[in-house]
Each structure stands twice: as C-alpha cells, then as structure tokens.
C-alpha cells in the first residue's frame, strides 16, 4: 500500500496534461520514485508518488494527510473565541489572516457589525499578513531553485511583521488576536503601532522588494526554471476551483475583496460614508510559475498601498462592539472593577451560558494570501459551532499538482510546489 499509485480505472489524464510530452520519446521504461513526505523542498509534509520515464514525470499521485489533526472536530468542541487559536494554526505563514476570517464568519452568523476602529485595524493586519505570506512565497521560490540569497532577503523583513504581531498581541508567531466582536486588546500604544507599520511598509518591504526583483526578475536561471513550468489556463483554473494569486496569474479576474467586499474593502465601512480603500488587482495571463511570482510581488505593493491609505486614519473610539451587545468579553479592568463587567464575563465563559447565536448556517469568506478562505458555520444556538467547515485554499489549489507536474522534469516539481505555496497545516487540518 505505501507505494500505490492512483487506481488505473476511472479518471484518465486528458490530453491537456500531456501536452509537454509532444517532443518526448517515451522509452517505456518506467520507474517509481517516492518524493516526500520528509523532504526540504516539500516545505512540510507533502508526498508525491511519481512514475518517471527517465527524468520525465509520466504520472504523479499526491498523498496528503500527514499533518491531519482533526481541527474541524475540535471546532465542534471549542467555543467561538477558543477556536481562533486553532484556526490560526491552520496557516503558519500568515496566521492573523485566518483569525480575521474565522471571526468574520462568526460575526456574520451572529449579525454583528464591528466598530470602524476594529475594521481598520483588521484590514491593516490582514494586509500585513498578505505581505508576510507573499514574502515567504517569493523568497522560497528562489530557495527551491537554489537562489538562497533571495530567501534571506524576504525572511529578513518577515521578521519585522512578527515584531508587529508581538506588539499588538504579545505573541510573535500565532497572535490569536481577534475575538467575537473585536480583538483581545486595544493597541497598547497607537503612535508606536503607527511608527512600526510605517517603517515596515515605507522602508523595509520596498527595500526587500527591490533586492528580490534585482536578483530574480531578469535572472536567466530563474526565468528558465520558471517560465512555461506548471501551466494552468484560465478555464482550468475556474474548473478546478482555484482562487487567489494562482488563478489571477492565469487571468481569472476574481478577488473576494472586490467581488464580495468586507471590512474596509467595502464602501461606507464607518457608517458615515467612507469610501472603500482603492487598490488594483494584478492579473497575468501566462499562467506559469513565473507569472505567479510576478503577481505576488505586485500584490505586496498593493497591500503596502492599502495600509498606507489606512494608517493615517485609524478612527478613535472603542475597538469592541458595545457592551450591551453582550458578545464581547469585558476588559479585565471592568471584570475586576465593576459588577456588570463581572456578570458579563461569567455569562460568556460559564459552560451552561455563553453566546446564543441564531440556529442557522452561513458562509463567510475572506481573500487571504493563498486565495479564498472561508468558513461554513452551522450553529445549534449554543456557544460552540455545530460544524465549522473550512474552505482551505491550499487544499483546493493543491489538487492540481499532478496536472501541473505531469510531463515536466523531476526538478520542476519543486518550482510547481513553491508556486502553489501550499501550507500543509491548512491542507491537512
């Protein structure tokens, strides 16, 4: 069983996947190679069983699940605030984006409209997360193709985004920052936060982008290894449910921020007619690994521009929705300092009390760095979700890996995997 390929009967690989084989002479001498799950180029724990003809991939069968830890089962046993710690761990590249998406879906279920201050801060952090995620992806794209320097350029700046998480939440890696109707705490020091963010988007990220582009964009080796590799057409992307930069690199005009706007991407986000943030959605039509790299670089620029529009106008006022909504936990000063705060705290944390959402089901989605991340929440009216189905972009995007690799050389697999930017924790949950 450990080396089984896909069953022979059933799905036959269509002609599109084998178009790279046009000039290849099939020797008929096939051998099977097991790639992963423990291999540096698989990023985490991906396993591919490859049937090779010489060095060319005749068939590729992905096996996943090595990191499966039952997150969706846990979602049914943890309340709407506790699960943010698990949702965050689905994505170790940009965890705060998952926090924001989880509570976006929960608040949609509850019918909560969060405060303008919270919307702005969440939008800023979601864009910082996008920068953080794309930096890893473009850096690792170089790393997988032996350009180690590019990886260091990108990682150097990612470190600064961790400092920002540390500052707002006290945790560097998994901030678990959002809560139902707000966040775990307000900014410890707003001026300091602005200074850190401005330094990141005005100095550090642009400098790293310049370095990366100088190193890779016109690099002969990088272009030869990435152009024309892992092609996906527009129609294939739509048919295979692909979202995010991978779809946009193939010319799919789709971005949840534009098409189903939320937070500050929607007009009138502050209730007083504020306009949505302006940004461009980069589209490429080549659909190869190089196009995905370019789309991600441009998205980093656009994210910087979004943050720049918002950082100067963080609204004053409360971060959490008002106390009479009875959905946010009161601050510790209120819990220890007033009877109302103490009562509300216990109303939410006691096992026989807690939230009372409507008995219904709803789907909330955000555009994260890898594509559309959504949670389909079924509620039974209690403080825990009855079912919280995650729509993980990595999982859905990764189904095409076989299609992308087949017909290519063995060494092109790492370029394909790198361009998909698969997060195994989200893939396997």
């Amino acid at each position: 069983m450990p080396f089984t390929l896909k069953p022979e009967q059933g799905w036959t690989v269509d002609a599109d996947t084998t178009r790279y084989l046009a000039s290849h002479v099939d020797t008929g001498d096939r051998w099977v190679l097991n790639f992963g799950p423990q291999h540096p180029a698989t990023h985490t724990t991906l396993r591919l069983v490859l049937e090779l003809d010489g060095e060319r991939i005749a068939r590729c069968t992905p096996h996943i699940g090595y990191l499966h830890s039952g997150f969706e089962k846990l979602a049914e046993h943890l309340d709407y605030n506790q699960y943010v710690a698990i949702a965050s761990r689905m994505n170790y590249l940009s965890p705060i984006a998952n926090d924001i998406c989880w509570h976006h879906a929960v608040e949609k279920l509850f019918g909560i409209d969060i405060t303008p201050r919270c919307k702005v801060l969440r939008t800023i952090m979601a864009e910082v997360a996008r920068i953080q995620d794309h930096l890893l992806c473009v850096g690792a794209a170089g790393l997988d193709l032996n350009a180690f320097t590019g990886f260091i350029y990108a990682f150097n700046v990612r470190e600064k985004t961790y400092d920002l998480y540390d500052f707002i939440s006290g945790q560097r890696y998994h901030p678990d920052w959002t809560r139902v109707g707000g966040a775990m705490q307000d900014l410890p020091d707003e001026e300091m936060f602005k200074t850190l963010v401005r330094k990141l988007i005005d100095e550090e990220v642009p400098a790293a982008l310049r370095d990366l582009e100088t190193l890779l964009n016109r690099n002969r080796i990088f272009m030869d290894r990435t152009r024309g590799v892992g092609l996906l057409t527009h129609d294939e992307c739509v048919a295979w449910s692909i979202t995010g930069p991978i779809a946009r690199a193939s010319g799919v005009k789709r971005d949840v921020r534009k098409d189903e706007p939320y937070l500050c991407y929607a007009d009138n986000w502050d209730g007083q007619g504020a306009e949505a943030v302006t940004f461009q959605v980069p589209i490429c039509t080549d659909g190869d690994t190089y196009a995905r790299y370019l789309v991600r670089l441009e998205e980093i620029r656009q994210s910087c521009s979004i943050v720049r529009q918002l950082i100067g106008r963080i609204p004053a006022g409360p971060l959490d929705v008002f106390a009479d909504a009875k959905v946010t936990k009161p601050r510790k000063t209120d819990v220890y300092g007033s009877i109302e705060g103490l009562i509300q705290h216990f109303e939410l944390v006691m096992s026989n009390r807690g939230w009372k959402p409507p008995v219904a089901e709803c789907y909330g989605a955000n555009e994260t760095a890898n594509g559309e991340l959504g949670f389909f929440i079924v509620s039974d009216g209690g403080p825990r979700a009855w079912r919280a189905k995650c729509r993980p972009p990595s999982f859905i995007n990764y189904q095409t890996i076989a299609k992308m690799c087949e017909g290519h050389l063995l060494s092109d697999i790492v370029a394909c995997i790198g361009s998909l930017n698969v997060v195994a924790a989200e893939l396997d949950r």
Binding site: P7, G65, V238, W240, S241, P357, V359, E372, D380, I396
Partner: protein
C-alpha cells in the same frame, strides 16, 4: 445580538429560475444573511447542479466548496441525518448559491460500512475541482459519490475504521492512535 433569525426572504432570482425549470421536482429553499440555499432530493442533485452550471440565467461556473454535515441530535428539525452542501459561485454576477441534499443512513453509523443510502451523484464531471472536497466528505462522513473518478480517503489512512466527523464518533477517538500496528525490523 438577535435571538430570533431575521425573516427569511426567498427572493433570490435563481430560485425562481430553478422552480420554473423543474416543475415536478420537490424543491425547498432557505435563506439566511442574504445567502440562499436550495434543498433538493438526492436523486435530483446532479440534474439541478448541471442546470445551475449550464443555464445562462444561472451560470454558476465555479464550485467553491463541498461541505458535509451530521445533524445527529440537532436541536432544530431537519429532513435527514446527514447533509451535503455545494457552495457555488458565479464569477460574472459575483453571486453565491448553496445547494443542499439530506441523506438518511440505513445501516449503523459507528463503523465504516458501505451504506447504499448514503450515496449521491458526484459533481466531478461538472466541476473537476469537486474531486478532493468530495473525497474529504467521504473520508469524514462516509457519504459516497457515484461516478467519482477516484473516491479514496484523502486525509486519513485507507484502513481507518470509522468516519470521524460523524457526531457519534468521540472527540478523542476510539484508541486508533494507541492501537496502531507498529512495524519494526524484527517483525518484518
């Protein structure tokens, strides 16, 4: 926080189109927070999905996700024990639409028995991207998909003895981890 759900307004234009196209079929619909769900009979699922994808008035060209749900002991009344929800999107109109089927098991659900009642037609021929999400529903709930190209477990190993997201499966498992067969060099 509203304790009662808002009034359901079933005015999604697709609902009317589907009702007119399938006059003899039993169709139900629900709405919550602007999201409309069409509930169809399991036998009609594939036909309705194909219509939603191919009819120009619907044009749901994108399958976002497939979700399985187990309603064992759910407080509200449901038509069946299990449900499968197809989450469709139309790129041209930026519109989302949900199609749901309910299924009732005919065999005990604590193992991984092949229950003929828990079976629906696969949507892989309409949206190839349904392949892995449907495998996940099969893996976690034991709902089988007819005409699926490659229906194997996707996250758990192939001889796993249960379908763990069913509500009658305990959170901490049934000792699969502790009793897992250990293979060492001596026993080979």
């Amino acid at each position: 926080m509203p304790d009662t759900p808002p009034v359901n307004i079933l005015d999604h234009p697709t609902l009317k189109v589907v009702r007119d196209a399938f006059p003899g079929k039993r169709l139900r619909a629900t709405e919550f927070r602007g999201q409309s769900t069409l509930i169809v009979e399991p036998a009609d699922l594939h036909e309705v999905l194909a219509f939603l994808r191919n009819d120009p008035r619907c044009g749901y060209n994108f399958l976002s996700d497939v979700a399985g749900i187990d309603y064992l002991n759910y407080p509200a009344a449901t038509i069946g024990r299990f449900a499968v929800v197809y989450n469709l999107a139309c790129h041209a109109r930026d519109d989302r639409f949900f199609v749901k089927v309910f299924l009732n098991p005919s065999l005990p659900t604590d193992g991984n028995a092949d229950d003929p009642a828990l079976c629906v037609d696969s949507a892989c021929d309409l949206w190839p991207g349904a392949e892995w999400p449907e495998r996940e529903v099969f893996d976690m709930f034991g709902i089988r998909f007819r005409n699926h190209p490659d229906l194997r477990r996707v996250l758990l190993w192939e001889d796993y003895p249960a379908h763990p997201l069913r509500k009658d499966y305990p959170l901490r498992g049934r000792g699969e981890r502790e009793q897992y067969r250990v293979v060492d060099r001596a026993s080979q």
